[in-house]
Amino acid sequence: MTSETQYLLEARDLVKTFDAVRALDGLSAGFAEGEVTAIVGDNGAGKSTLVRCLTGVHPPTEGQLLFRGEPIRLSSPQAARDLGIETVYQDLGLIDDLAVWQNLFLNRELLRPIPLLGVLDRPRMIRESRDILSGLDVNVPSVRTTVRRMSGGQRQSIAIARAVTWGKSLVIMDEPTAALGVRETAAVEKLILSLRDRGVTVLIISHDLDQVMRVADTVVVLRRGRAVARRPVADVTGDRLVGLITGTIAEAA
């Protein structure tokens, strides 16, 4: 791909240093609109640091981020959220003792038209929560139950549903199935595929190369803080990916 291609979100020559450690070392990568892009790489390759740069948690030391071709500065997670970039971290960011509907609408509560008091419009939020989850084929016993009572797969699905609902431009998922069993992983993957069918732009970090082959359109390989390859998933095999990750296949991006 040439650099003229307009990506939804693009990183150019990102450098992020923590004291003496160069976690990102001139990383350039683009994420195309409407695609599921997977980021793979060995431990310490810079995956998590890249995500934190893209979500405003860690501003990069050097380099540039472009959103729809425009240079942007993400100084805080709120700045990323304002652009419609939502992230599902591994800890999911759910409040266990709040109900499913409260988690879906957390800090985006719908209020009754009473000035100043901030009175919740509970019936509407409960109704819309049901619509959100059923629209994504996510099954929970009831949106009024607390998240604590949900299985790991259900919690992951709720966190993803929340990100998709508010992430109008990009949804980033950090190892979404790392802690899940086989059946729950399948359900979450089905959810990710349905997001692709709806044209949601997804960036997924995964260690599971088979999963990458199943759900992603494009794969970006990181090694030692750089993006060493960007390939359509249809053009690579699992073995070749392993080679790119470990560095036994050297290749320019």
Binding site: P77, G93, I95, D97, L98, L106, G118, V119
Partner: protein
């Protein structure tokens, strides 16, 4: 990291912990009813509920600190501080309505300072409120020179002694406070954010909730209700006693814990806290009627608190 939440180890014990306060209340009332004919009388229960009202309002304030996984130890000094402010301003000839407002505002200031230190400077809640307990107590003693100030106000007297028919004003004040706190916690955006900050500060921050401001608000609310309780205390005693109220401090925390709120934050039970306040007051009231030494009363209150903490351990 494990994604699946730890299920309650024992469902029955978890249930028991949720109903600890109402269950214990029934047991305590029955025990005193059997022990003496003077306990379960309309007069005594009426007085008991009046005495409970002050603790209930105080516990409702404590509830705010506890719901954000904090604790407000400063109420032991904030309560006499509000009382002393009321006494000093009333003595100086300030109209009673204004004096009450000044007293409550003084307690809110203490709460705001606590909240600022805990929320914005990220100091440990326990240390902050322990420190302000001492500081505020000293300021109160300086203001009053350690003397109890008599406050003779027909208005305060009426609040303490009268009511609408058999319904005493104190009950109504506590009831109104309880309804307001419940509505705030469970029916407003602010309440959702309080529960979220207590239940998962990182997750709350992740959704953009202003965690620091929410913490400050929680301690300010604790101060506000402490001020109201201080005014009630002056009305009931007919004067402002500047000495440290450690009994009220311990009982306010105990009432919240007994009520089933989690000291780890994120879970609140308004009815539970009020029930806890009535339960603790019943113990003191019953012991007094039977004639058991007041030293046993503190032991009993402490034992009840430890028992509640034990039950809460099983809830985790």
């Amino acid at each position: 990291m494990t994604a699946t939440a730890a299920r309650p180890r024992s469902f029955d014990l978890a249930r028991a912990a949720d109903y600890a306060a109402p269950g214990a209340l029934v047991v305590v009332w029955l025990a005193f009813f059997i022990a003496t004919p003077h306990f379960l009388t309309l007069d005594n229960i009426g007085d008991l509920l009046v005495a409970s009202s002050i603790l209930a309002v105080l516990a409702l304030g404590q509830q705010f600190a506890v719901v954000v996984a904090g604790i407000d130890l400063s109420v032991g000094a904030n309560l006499p501080w509000a009382a002393a402010l009321l006494g000093a301003t009333a003595t100086a000839g300030v109209p009673m309505g204004l004096a009450i407002l000044i007293a409550i505002a003084g307690s809110v200031v203490v709460g705001v300072v606590n909240g600022f230190l805990v929320g914005y400077l990220k100091m440990t809640d326990f240390i902050v409120t322990l420190g302000s307990l001492s500081v505020v107590s000293g300021i109160t003693l300086l203001l009053t020179e350690g003397n109890t100030v008599a406050v003779s106000s027909p208005f305060l007297q009426a609040i303490a002694l009268d009511g609408i028919g058999p319904v005493r004003w104190f009950w109504l004040i506590a009831l109104a406070a309880a309804v307001l706190v419940w509505a705030t916690l469970f029916r407003t955006r602010a309440g959702t954010h309080l529960l979220a900050v207590g239940g998962g500060p990182d997750a709350a921050l992740g959704t953009g909730i202003p965690v620091r401001r929410v913490r400050l608000a929680a301690y300010a609310a604790s101060g506000l209700l402490c001020g109201v309780a201080g005014v009630m205390l002056v009305a009931r005693n007919g004067g402002a006693d500047p000495s440290l109220q450690t009994n009220y401090l311990l009982s306010s925390i105990a009432a919240v814990v007994l009520g089933g709120s989690s000291l780890f934050g994120g879970k609140a039970s308004v009815a539970g806290s009020v029930t806890g306040a009535v339960l603790l007051t019943s113990l003191v009231n019953g012991f007094t009627i039977i004639g058991i030494s007041q030293y046993f009363q503190t032991i009993a209150v402490g034992a009840v608190v430890l028992l509640a903490a034990l039950l809460a351990r099983f809830r985790k």
